[in-house]
Amino acid sequence: MDIIVILLIICGLIFFTGGTVGLLRFPDFYSRLHPAGKLDTMGSLFIMIGLALFNLHHFSMGNLLTSLKLILIVVFVFMASPTAIHAIVDAGVRAGLRPWKKGDKRR
């Protein structure tokens, strides 16, 4: 049980690290938002599932309720985070920001 939890949390941390590195290293606005939207959502999924499993160590109805609440957080993050990123990207397109092409300078 503990091994699964540790594996899940490490998986989530890898996703978070990738998201952070991408946020820092990618060349422009749109490509920077890509890791911010995707990898953070995935990382929070793994970490929340790991925490929910860890919480079920001593099984009881109260613990099950807490775990369900943790899973509920994932559901709402999955709905809200990509939508927010979508809205930000759309605002960028409407404001006329041109996407980065190969050979351009980093912005």
């Binding site: 709402f76 709905m79 809200a80 939508t83 979508h86 809205a87 759309d90 409407r94």
Partner: protein, 276 residues
């Protein structure tokens, strides 16, 4: 006039800074607050008010007078935004834009004509370029009920967990503001009219002050909820817990509608048109 205001502000600031010299030093274990006030709260809150969350008990019961005026300050902020920004003289624009929601085309109607009101396919917009976000609108509509449910939970659960009227009120207000941002302000105003907002804001403050005045009428001090025991048919300790809940509901109403009021006045510049 500006100079007088500046002088008054500076003098008040100097006075306040001068007064801080008399405070006990930072984290002084011998200060009056640490020697008998905090231990009293920590030890006696459960048996005096039967509220497990000490913060809520201190906020709404022991120091209820302070919290009442905090609510009044928020109410005053909403009223100030209304009086400063709201413009009642409506100037109808010469051209009105409508969006045909099925095809996404924009129609321009000139010379103050209008599209017939009974046509559902046309949606009034304020500028030619107003975008139509299907994804954002759908997700916002999906999330708003859950946000409101969570806001009610935070208000009602303030006795047992972090939360209470202020936080829950802000969450409830944010749900309507999310609707106004993702759709437009007309939709949000269709859900909650300006009059409703103003009435709820005043009602919230009235519930708080009224709960206090009721205690006064029943023979105890202002905001001493133990007096409500005879109305609620409980013992005074449980009545204090219930009194806190009543007050939290008032705070929640006032904060929620003040947030919506401030947002709709500021974001539309008092014109109450499409908003952001």
């Amino acid at each position: 006039m500006k100079i007088i205001g500046l002088i008054i502000a500076v003098l008040t600031g100097i006075l306040l800074i001068y007064a801080t010299v008399d405070f006990p030093p930072w984290a002084d274990p011998g200060s009056p607050a640490s020697t008998y006030l905090s231990p009293h709260y920590i030890e006696k809150t459960m048996e005096e008010t039967s509220v497990p969350n000490i913060v809520t008990a201190v906020l709404a019961d022991y120091r209820g007078f302070d919290t009442m005026f905090e609510t009044t300050v928020i109410f005053a902020a909403g009223v100030a935004c209304f009086f400063i920004l709201r413009t009642f003289k409506r100037k109808e624009p010469e051209e009105i834009f409508y969006r045909h929601t099925l095809t996404g085309m924009t129609i321009r109607v000139k010379n103050s004509g209008k599209v017939r009101q009974d046509l559902d396919e046309f949606e009034r917009i304020d500028a030619m370029w107003t975008p139509h976000y299907l994804i954002v609108k759908t997700v916002a509509r999906l999330l708003v009920p859950f946000i409101q449910l969570f806001g009610l939970y935070v208000i009602a659960h303030g006795h047992h967990s972090p939360g209470g009227g202020f936080q829950g009120g802000v969450i409830l207000g944010a749900s309507i503001i999310l609707l106004a941002i993702s759709h437009d302000m007309r939709t949000a105003l269709g859900r909650m009219r300006e009059k409703t907002t103003a009435l709820l804001c005043t009602t919230g403050v009235l519930i708080y002050a009224g709960a206090g005045a009721l205690c006064l009428l029943l023979g105890l001090n202002f905001l001493d909820y133990g007096a409500l025991a005879s109305i609620l048919y409980t013992d005074p300790v449980t009545a204090r817990s219930h009194g806190i809940l009543i007050v939290e509901i008032g705070v929640g109403l006032a904060v929620m509608s003040a947030m919506i009021w401030i947002y709709s006045n500021v974001s539309s510049g008092g014109k109450y048109d499409e908003g952001l």
